[in-house]
Symmetry: C2
Amino acid sequence: MTTASICTIGDEILIGQIVDTNSSKISTALNTLGIKVRYMLSIGDDREEIISNLDKCLRDTDIVIITGGLGPTKDDITKDALASLSGATGYKESPEQLAIVKRILGARHIDLLDINLAQALVPDTCEVIPNQLGTAPCMKFPFDEKRYGHRAVLYSLPGVPYEAEGLLDAILEDIKNNFQLERIIHKNIITFGVPESVLSKQIESWEDALPEWLHLAYLPNATIGIRLRLSCYGADDESRVARMDQEIEKLRELLGPTIYGSGDDTLQSILPRLLKCPPEAARQETLSVAESCTGGHLSQLITSIPGCSRYYNGSVTSYSNEVKINVLGVDADIIARYGAVSRECAEAMARGVAELMDTDYSIATTGIAGPDGGSKDKPVGTCWIAAVHRNRTTGEVEVTSKKVLSMSASRDVNIKRFASNALDLLRRLVEQQLF
Amino acid sequence: MTTASICTIGDEILIGQIVDTNSSKISTALNTLGIKVRYMLSIGDDREEIISNLDKCLRDTDIVIITGGLGPTKDDITKDALASLSGATGYKESPEQLAIVKRILGARHIDLLDINLAQALVPDTCEVIPNQLGTAPCMKFPFDEKRYGHRAVLYSLPGVPYEAEGLLDAILEDIKNNFQLERIIHKNIITFGVPESVLSKQIESWEDALPEWLHLAYLPNATIGIRLRLSCYGADDESRVARMDQEIEKLRELLGPTIYGSGDDTLQSILPRLLKCPPEAARQETLSVAESCTGGHLSQLITSIPGCSRYYNGSVTSYSNEVKINVLGVDADIIARYGAVSRECAEAMARGVAELMDTDYSIATTGIAGPDGGSKDKPVGTCWIAAVHRNRTTGEVEVTSKKVLSMSASRDVNIKRFASNALDLLRRLVEQQLF
C-alpha cells in the first residue's frame, strides 16, 4: 500500500497561535486515493529540524506533503532546507510562477520588490506546479530508489489554507501519474436524525453481507449528521462498480428518509434543490428563519451557501421576549402560559417570521444552550424547533415541531445540534417525511 | 530550557475526519509557562506505532502530552501501549475516577457495564489526575533519568476537546511542581483597526528600547484583531514586573483607542462592560443588529457570550430588499438610488433595527461577501457598516458609518472581517473614539 506523511512547518503552529487545518484536508484527499497516511507532524522554523524530520518522513513513507514556511520573509529557511536535502546546486526561475506573482501584485497595485521576485525562484532539483492563488509555487522533489530504498516524492505547498487547497487537485493528479494506485471509488450517503448505534443496528445484516472489497465507514459530524462512506476497491472491475451501486440502492431502501443526500451534501447545501420542489414549479420557494437560542448560527449556515439570496429572505434573532412578541407577533399569553422554551412558542415564532418575511417556508428554534440556566423540566440542552409551510394558493399553513435534547456540556455543540435538527425538520416537512 | 512534545492518537485524525484542536490549546498553555514545544505528532491506533513514537518523544523532550485513544472501545490499544512502555506489572483501580464514572452514567440513566468500569482501571505505573467531565482519567507516567538520560513525564489525556481542556490547569500545576521553570508573566494588549505593518511602525522605537528580558509577539486574528503579547522573563524579580507594567502604560499612550482590551478579551466579550457605560447608569444599555452580507455571523458572535440576553435584544438578517424595506423600514428610494450596498442603506438599516427592537445601540452590515457578484465600483469584499446610538432622554440619534474592504478570496474570511469591523465601530461609538 502506498503510504504518506504530512508535515506542517512554522513556529505559529507550535506556539498555538493557529490551528492546522491543512493536514486534515490533505489526509482526506489522500485517503480517497487509497493512500495510507502514517503520521502527521508539525515542526518549527528551524533549518536542522526541517532537514532531519523530512529525511525521516521520506525514509518512512512514499509521499511526503509539507505545508508552510514559504512566506516571503521566512522564505530562506524552508526553501534552503529543501535545496540542501535534495542536493540542489543552485536556484532557477519559474517563468509561470513569475508571471503569476506579477499579475497578483499588479492587481493590488503593489510595487515588485526583490523579495517578491524571489518567490518565483526554486531549487534546481524541483519541478514547479504553479500556484494561481498566491505568490509561492508548489515545489515537487522526486527522490530515486537509491536514496531511501524506495521511490519517494515530496510536495511543498504554501501554508495559506485556500492556496494549499487550490493546489490539491493538481497534486492528486500528479500522484496518480507517478504511483501505481489501486483504483478506489468512494460514495457518501448522508443521514440525519438517527444515532450511530441505532443506525448500525438497522443496517447490520446488510453490512455483514458486503463483499470484502466493499468497505463501509461511519463519519459522524454535529452539523452534517452521519456520513456513510462506501469504498469500492479494485474499481477497474466494472462488475464491482455495478454491485456497489446495487448495494447503495439497498441501503436507500433500508434507511428511507433518514438519508438526505450524497457526496459533499450538507443540510444547508441541499436547500436550493429542496426549495425548487416540485421541480416543475415556475418560481423558487422561499425560506425565513426565527432564532432564539441558536442566536444567528442557523442563518449563518444557510448564508454560507453562495447564491442563497435566490431562496433565503432572512431571519429574526429574537433574544428577548419583547422581540418575540413585537417583531414576530408571538402572543404574550403563549409565553406567559407555556414559557419561551415551548412547542407553542416555537410554532408561533415560525408562523410569525413566515408572515413577516412573506415566505413559503420557515423554521424556528427556542431553547437553552447553556452553560447556565434551565430547570428540572427544561434542562440545559433542551430546544423546541418548528417548521412551517404556507401554501399561497390555498392559504393553508402546515406546522410541525419537535423537541431536541442535546446533552453536551458545550454551549457551542448544543447550538450546532439545535440548528442542524431545525434544518432537518424543514427537509422532512418539504419531503413530507415527518417523524 | 524545558521542552515538550504533543502527540494525538487516533485514526480519525489521520483519515481527515476530524481536525485536531487539542494540540493548539495545549501548546498555547505550555508556551505561557516558557516551555518550548519542539514538535506535534499525530499517529494512528496502532500499538507498535504508539510505543515507538512515544519512546522517541520521551527521548527528545522533557514533557510529553498525548490526547486521544482512550474511548471505551479503543481503550486497550493506548492504555495497553502505555502499560508496556512504562513497564507496568498490572492494572489498578482509581477510586476517584470510579466514583466519577458512576456519577456521570447515573445522571444519564445508563447501566454500568464492564467497559465503563474499565475506564477507572489504569496501569500500576501511573498516577491519576481525575477527569471530572468524562469517564477516562488523565494518567501521568514519570520516567527517571536512567531511562532517557533526563527526567521525563508523560501525561495522557482523553481526546474530547472540552475534557482535555478541563484537565489542562491541573496538568500545568503538576508541571510547575515537577520542573524548575523560570517564572514568566505574559500580558496581552488587544488592538483592532490598524494593520500589522502600520502598528509595528507606530511602536518601533518603543519596542527597540525594551530590555532583553521583555519580549513582544504579534498574534493577528481575523475576528479578534491583533493581540500584542508582552512576556516578562525572570519575573521573580519584582522590579521587572513593575517595569513591564510601565511599558504597557507607554504602549497604551502610543496606541490610544486602537487598544480595546487585554487578556482573553474579544470584541464580543467586552460588550457587557461597554454597554454598562457610563458606569453610574442604573440600567444596562441594549443592542440590536441588522445584517445583510454577514448573514447571521455577527449575531452569532454576540450570542456566543453566555448571559448576553441581559443586553442583546436580537437581530434581523435582511437577505432581500423586501425585508430591508418592510421589516427594517429602509426607504425603497435609498435602495433604488444608492443600491443596497451603500452608506445610506447601512445607516438606514441600523436606525431601523434600533427602532424595531427598541435598543440604545445598533449595528448594521451590507456588502458583498463573494465569491461571485460585485461590480467595478463595488467589488467582492466591499461592505458598508453603520452603528447607531439612540439617546432615550433627548431623543437624539447618533449615526456613524464606514466602508470596509476585505480582499480575501474566501467568502468566510470576508464575512468574519465585516463582522469584527462592525463590532469595532460600535466600540468606538460607545467610547466616542471614532475614526
